[in-house]
């Protein structure tokens, strides 16, 4: 089917079977390889992207569910050449090991902070528990999210640069 959706602020049109998971559309049709395939069943979180501001598992979200919607991937998190505060924290805290799950981790964290700018430790753990990391970077992830929580986030354009 012919369909269109907005990805990282750009309108994209394509012709593809509507049951194709959003993940493979992003990766193979639109060339956005930062979003990863881990389990195909919404169990690991490696494929997490934002659809209309909500985190979804793109491996089990048919692209027809995203028609007309706004999708944000790891590639769309930076604004005006500035990395999202979480990405900076991920680098500063040295979170990634193999790194394969980290796009999904960052997208889950970005949604948490967009909706709850000053989360408690429990809030962070709850928000991040759907994202598996086989390397065991969990404590660094918490440290990185906590280092940003309460601070400015580049992703929320209206709030960018503001002190919270």
């Amino acid at each position: 089917m012919a369909l269109s959706l907005t990805v990282n602020g750009e309108q994209r049109s394509l012709d593809i079977e509507g049951d194709t998971p959003l993940l493979w559309v992003l990766r193979d049709e639109l060339g956005l390889k930062g979003t990863k395939f881990g389990c195909g069943a919404g169990l690991c979180g490696a494929c997490t992207v934002h659809l209309n501001g909500q985190p979804v598992r793109s491996c089990s979200t048919p692209v027809e569910f995203a028609v007309g919607g706004e999708v944000t991937t790891i590639e769309g998190l930076a604004e005006d050449g500035q990395l999202h505060a979480l990405q900076k924290a991920w680098i500063a805290k040295g979170v990634p090991q193999c790194g394969y799950c980290q796009s999904g981790q960052i997208m889950s964290a970005a949604h948490l902070l967009a909706t709850n700018p000053a989360p408690t430790r429990n809030d962070i753990v709850a928000a991040m528990t759907g994202n598996l990391c086989r390397c065991g970077t969990y404590s660094r992830i918490i440290a990185a999210v906590e280092s940003v929580a309460g601070g400015p986030l580049a992703y929320d354009a209206s709030a960018a640069g503001e002190e919270r």
């Binding site: 169990l43 690991c44 990405q87 990634p96 790194g99 394969y100 528990t129 598996l132 086989r134």
Partner: protein
């Protein structure tokens, strides 16, 4: 390691005016490389190149799978070259004998060996390049090179004012000869080694730009999936080719060695076509066992054959006669999957009578053999491009996924990416073997006088040598591969290193006991097995350190003090044991409803002790704290050491709490993360890692965090419940 510099370093000039250094490590280059000197281009066996535009290229011979080689090895070069590690661009090595791991004579990354085997050679290479640049500058300035120094990519004039960029010096430096007396920097002058520093790959991995195998994109690329037999070893009898061929986007459907391959223009179309595929399997040679039969066969084998003696000290049988009390226990561990988060995949392009492979692989030279094996091509016709690996843990030492993709590409003659689903990855893995351990110990009074450990199970080289042996002789004709594999197995322990995979950690039993008897009964039920993070140490650690805990309790001693007493003359063991106990406040009472357990295990040259604090909440095991002390010799990057040890703890806890692959009638019962669970964020205990400051040579850290945490958790649960669990995974209601 004593190395004569002239023997292993070669210097050459790039035509564009750059300084290039090649290394050949002892034992790696007994044969010609097969590469001709190219002009102006990257030469395959070059390790380090400094260009006239101040770019520094470093060939990374050990792959990056999360363990930190990308940062760690680059740091070693940078330190001696006197540049910031950030100024160096690492690239993944092609296949060449120079890039072999000197311990295995294969180009593989494993065994926690990357830092330990690179420590001397890479620093020496960096120092030699620095010295040549200094000598070039001294020649220009007409001063004594001994009065010059280097810093931040420049050579500094003795007058303290002038300096020259490395890029300005490379052309002249390449004409200098390699000196034999370049001193490595003393530890007191290190700027990068031993310092807290970030990872060089963190940015790419936090922005989605790091390229893993699954991300490779080629023009006109198509996609493949393979349906493999539910029962290992079954063969294709028939399949509904025409139904599948008619599915949208399907380009081809055909049998390969491992099953039926489907090629389609899109990945999702290949998967949908796979749903329509019906295969009739010939199960005559297929696996038909169930897990309980594996352990029954192990017990039978262990009864019939006491096994090869792997360590014998004193007279164990005699000590048994003398012993006033004898304790016995049997331990068992299940098969475990690797579950790298990036599933197995490879991208292959067959054209112009050659094959090019892009793969996340821990063993590119074995990948070359695998691709050659299933085509009419020779290893020299195969190029392997290694990408970042989305986890390895030993799984990507085996090249079955490269073999499949090469077979598909050879037929389809288009660039093709083959991706395994998570279910396929879980069910067609090669597993950490299920193992059985029989332990016996004798006491005279309160003195432990005899220790017996019988290990029952397979050896991993039986499964690995098939591709590994030919990879050591890449010029050998292919009809010899099977023979090389067989000879390789026969030569094991004679002409080639002994297979330690079943016994490692058991034979290094560190406690002072007069009579020690460690044996291995070699039996293999036919389940595919391979290396899994910490390999034999993963199961021997559980058996040895749980039994030690049982003995302490049986004799009414504190488990920490019981071990302590038996470690005279083992200062590094003692140090980490004491530190872990201190870190965990071992001497203070544990909170109500919790238990504390301790374990100590050396693996891959690294000493690790851990104390786990755990309890049971609402019928579920809850791990509260892990206190860990580690001695890995000289630390290159403390942050990465901490990460690796903590990652090992998470990996070990995952195995202890959840890990279990089971077979029913030859079929694996688990498929995805709902029934093969990994530890999640909310289950992470509070982990504290104490690293011993040491000037000993560095040892590995990728694996040693795994083994002790499993028995330490079991021992903590015993302390809490008084019930001993002798098989894994651990249960809350045992």
């Amino acid at each position: 390691m004593a190395i004569n510099r002239r023997d292993f370093l070669k210097v050459s000039a790039g035509t564009s005016g750059s300084l290039m250094l090649s290394l050949s490590l002892p034992g790696c280059s007994g044969m010609p490389t097969g590469y001709t000197q190219e002009t102006g281009e990257w030469k395959p066996d070059v390790w380090l190149e400094v260009t006239n535009t101040d770019e520094i290229h470093f060939t990374l011979a050990r792959v990056e799978m999360g363990q930190g080689t990308y940062t760690g090895l680059t740091t070693l070069i940078a330190e001696e070259l006197e540049v910031d590690p950030e100024a160096i661009t690492p690239k993944f090595a092609p296949v060449a004998p120079e890039y072999r791991n000197p311990l295995y004579k294969l180009q593989l990354t494993g065994g926690s060996t990357s830092i330990s085997t690179s420590w001397e050679p890479l620093r020496t290479a960096g120092a030699s390049a620095r010295q040549m640049l200094i000598m070039a500058a001294a020649r220009i300035w007409q001063v004594d090179s001994a009065d010059c120094s280097a810093a931040q990519g420049r050579v500094l004039h003795p007058n303290g004012r002038d300096s020259l960029r490395y890029g300005q010096l490379v052309e002249l430096a390449a004409k200098e000869s390699i000196s034999d007396d370049v001193a490595l920097k003393p530890a007191s002058e290190w700027k990068y080694i031993g310092k807290q520093r970030g990872r060089l790959d963190a940015r790419a991995k936090s922005t989605g730009t790091a390229v893993y195998g699954i991300d490779v994109e080629l023009p006109g690329m198509v996609y493949s999936v393979v349906t493999r037999p539910p029962r290992y070893g079954a063969r294709v009898k028939a399949f509904n080719e025409s139904d599948v061929s008619a599915m949208p986007g399907v380009l081809d459907v055909f049998e390969i060695q491992r099953g039926v391959a489907i090629v389609a223009d899109k990945y999702w179309r290949a998967r949908k076509a796979q749903d329509a595929l019906k295969v009739e399997w010939d199960n005559e040679e297929a696996l038909s066992l169930s897990t309980h039969e594996v352990f029954a066969s192990y017990r039978k084998a262990g009864d019939e054959d006491r096994g090869e003696s792997e360590r014998s000290e004193g007279d164990y049988e005699d000590s048994l006669e003398k012993a006033e009390r004898v304790f016995e226990a049997e331990y068992s561990q299940p098969y475990l999957a690797h579950s790298t988060l990036e599933p197995m995949n490879a991208t292959v392009w067959y054209r112009d009578n050659s094959i090019e492979v892009w793969a996340p692989t821990q063993a590119p030279d074995l990948g070359r053999i695998a691709a050659a094996r299933v085509t009419d091509l020779s290893p020299s016709d195969v190029t392997i491009n290694t990408t970042f690996l989305g986890g390895g843990f030993g799984r990507r030492l085996t090249q079955d996924y490269v073999e499949e993709a090469a077979a598909v590409a050879y037929r389809i003659k288009k660039p093709v990416k083959l991706i395994w689903s998570r279910e396929e990855d879980t069910q067609h893995d090669l597993y950490r073997p299920a193992m059985l351990h029989r332990m016996q110990a004798g006491f005279e009074g309160s003195k432990l006088i005899g220790w017996h450990h019988q290990i029952v199970g397979p050896q991993l080289l039986d499964w690995y040598v098939r591709n590994a042996a030919p990879a050591q002789y890449p010029w050998a004709p292919k009809f010899m591969y099977d023979t090389l594999g067989k000879v390789g197995l026969l030569a094991e322990g004679i002409a080639t290193p002994k297979d330690m995979s079943a016994i490692e950690g058991a034979i290094e039993y560190p406690y002072n006991v007069d009579n020690i008897d460690v044996r291995h009964t070699h039996t293999d039920p036919g389940v595919p097995v391979t290396f899994w993070r910490s390999v034999g140490y993963s199961h021997n650690g559980f058996a040895v350190e749980t039994f030690m805990d049982e003995l302490a309790h049986e004799t009414g001693e504190d488990p920490y003090q019981f071990r302590r007493k038996l470690l005279a003359g083992q200062p590094r063991h003692l140090e980490v044991l004491d530190r872990a106990a201190r870190l965990a406040n071992w001497d203070t009472p544990v909170a109500q409803g919790r238990g504390r357990g301790i374990a100590l295990f050396k693996s891959f040259g690294t000493f690790v002790a851990q104390v786990v604090e755990a309890g049971v909440e609402n019928g579920v095991i809850k791990v509260y704290k892990v206190a860990c002390a580690v001695d890995c010799g000289q630390v290159v990057n403390p942050r990465i050491v901490e990460d690796q040890i903590e990652g090992g703890i998470v990996f070990g806890l995952t195995a202890a709490l959840y890990g279990e692959i089971t077979y029913e009638d030859g079929q694996v019962q688990q498929s995805n993360f709902h029934d093969y669970q990994l530890l999640r964020q909310y289950e992470l205990p509070e982990v504290t890692v104490d690293i011993v400051q040491s000037t000993e040579a560095p040892t590995g850290v990728g694996e040693p965090g795994v083994p002790p945490v499993i028995p330490a958790l079991g021992n903590a649960l015993f302390a809490l419940t008084g019930k001993r669990q002798r098989s894994l995974p651990l249960k809350a209601d045992a």
